[in-house]
């Protein structure tokens, strides 16, 4: 058999993709197996049969992957959902925040609008690919090492405690959230504009006039920009007070309409206990903003109670879930 025969070329294509210590043995075995197969076909035209047998063996890269017991996917189904979630978080939080930060720095440097736009586009197109590439590389490495260790079973078991604390928010409140965001943006924009354009004209005693800011210009210290950015960030991170009030005061209304509520009402999913709690004595006024600390505290209390329920302990009256037909 010549060194350039089809079989030798095929075997070479396979074994060069498997670990070096297996190559020699695998090459010998593959060659005899292929020769056995050709012989068993009772070949009149040996070359044609060889071609046929190798075609049936298929793509050498795939065969090599089977021999090397390597996954044929960069990120397998076990890790895929976590990977997508991480990418989504990075691209919807880190990327906008960094982009805005760079634009703000440009504005602080008194650059014009064009320069700021160029900066924003540059940040998006340099940071964006990095935010996609690095998690991909890391997940691919993790996938490879998991496969090597033979981890095929789930390594972390999911429990009901992993459920998010909130129901998905109904879409029809999206408009309200947009209006609030626009209102906030308008306020911040006005504050910046009165500083830059100085719209107020002050007539002085000597007949001359001077352009003034509306707010005390001493307030406009060097720290004002970080403060403004911080306010925007805090507003963005805060749960919408209107929505939260409705969830607590009108649970049944949401159970019927909310996407999670439809399944719950149909008896498919359990309802989160905080949705089923009866209205508080006296009710609370809509105070607009709610202290985030209290929100977090209440979430912690909810979670602790659910854990107690899971432990099967008796609960104080009034906190037990009502019958499923609600």
């Amino acid at each position: 058999m010549s060194a350039r025969s089809l079989t030798n070329r095929y075997v070479h294509e396979v074994v060069r993709r498997v670990p070096a210590d297996q190559r020699h043995d695998l090459a010998d075995e593959l060659r005899t197996t292929i020769a056995d197969t050709i012989e068993a076909r009772g070949a009149d035209d040996r070359d044609a049969t060889e071609r046929e047998v190798l075609t049936e063996m298929g793509d050498p890269t795939q065969l090599a992957a089977r021999y090397a017991d390597r996954p044929l996917a960069l990120i397998g189904p076990e890790l895929y959902s976590r990977y997508v979630r991480l990418l989504a978080i990075l691209l919807t939080t880190v990327l906008p925040v960094v982009t805005v930060a760079f634009v703000v720095l440009d504005v602080l440097d008194n650059k014009d609008l064009g320069a700021a736009i160029v900066t924003a586009v540059t940040v998006v197109f340099t940071l964006g690919p990095q935010l996609i590439a690095w998690p991909t590389v890391i997940f691919a490495i993790v996938e490879r090492s998991r496969h090597r260790r033979g981890v095929v079973a789930h390594d972390s078991t999911w429990t009901a405690d992993d459920l998010p604390d909130d129901l998905p928010e109904p879409d029809r409140h999206g408009a309200a959230a947009c209006v609030w965001a626009l209102f906030d943006a308008l306020l911040v924009g006005l504050a910046v504009r009165q500083h830059i354009a100085k719209p107020y004209r002050l007539e002085l005693a000597d007949g001359s006039s001077r352009q003034m800011q509306v707010l005390n210009s001493d307030l406009w210290s060097g720290w004002i920009w970080p403060v403004l950015v911080g306010l925007c960030g805090a507003r963005g991170a805060q749960p919408d007070p209107v929505r939260r009030e409705q969830v607590e005061r009108h649970p049944r209304h949401l159970v019927r309409r909310g996407p999670g509520g439809v399944r719950a009402a149909a008896g498919l999913d359990p309802l989160p206990p905080h949705l089923l709690r009866a209205g508080r004595p006296g009710g609370r006024e809509r105070t607009g903003l709610e202290d985030p600390g209290r929100v977090l505290h209440r979430r912690g209390v909810d979670r602790a109670r659910r854990r107690r329920e899971a432990g099967g302990q008796a609960l104080p009256r009034g906190t037990r879930s009502p019958p499923a037909d609600r």
Partner: protein, 112 residues
């Protein structure tokens, strides 16, 4: 998608695990790759070479099979046979198989 195609696809899923069991059952006697493929084929366990040959090496790596080169004949061949661990696994898989067959036939009888 026709019912025939669906049956074919589902049957492939069903067969996937049984090839291991068939190999462990057959390799009580030492056998080389191509001969094993032929034996399985005539026994009615259809499997492709590019599936079976890597499978043999994987089972060897897992310690369920042992291999040896036989150079007595004109063409040296690698012979595989079941190791003691392989025999143990085969017994366990066989129990699993029997209980599956029993369960499925019981279910199909109950439901008409």
């Amino acid at each position: 998608v026709t019912p025939e195609e669906l049956i074919l696809a589902q049957a492939q899923e069903l067969r996937r695990g049984t090839v291991v069991l068939a190999c462990l059952a057959l390799l009580e006697q030492p056998q080389y790759g191509y001969a094993l493929l032929e034996t399985l084929d005539t026994a009615g366990v259809a499997v492709d070479g590019n599936t079976l040959y890597p499978l043999l090496r994987r089972l060897e790596k897992q310690g369920l099979l042992r291999s040896e080169w036989n150079t007595e004949e004109s063409r040296p061949r690698k012979f595989y046979r079941v190791s003691p661990e392989g025999a143990q696994v085969r017994a366990g898989l066989m129990r699993e198989w029997q209980s599956l067959v029993a369960a499925v036939s019981r279910l199909s009888k109950e439901n008409g």
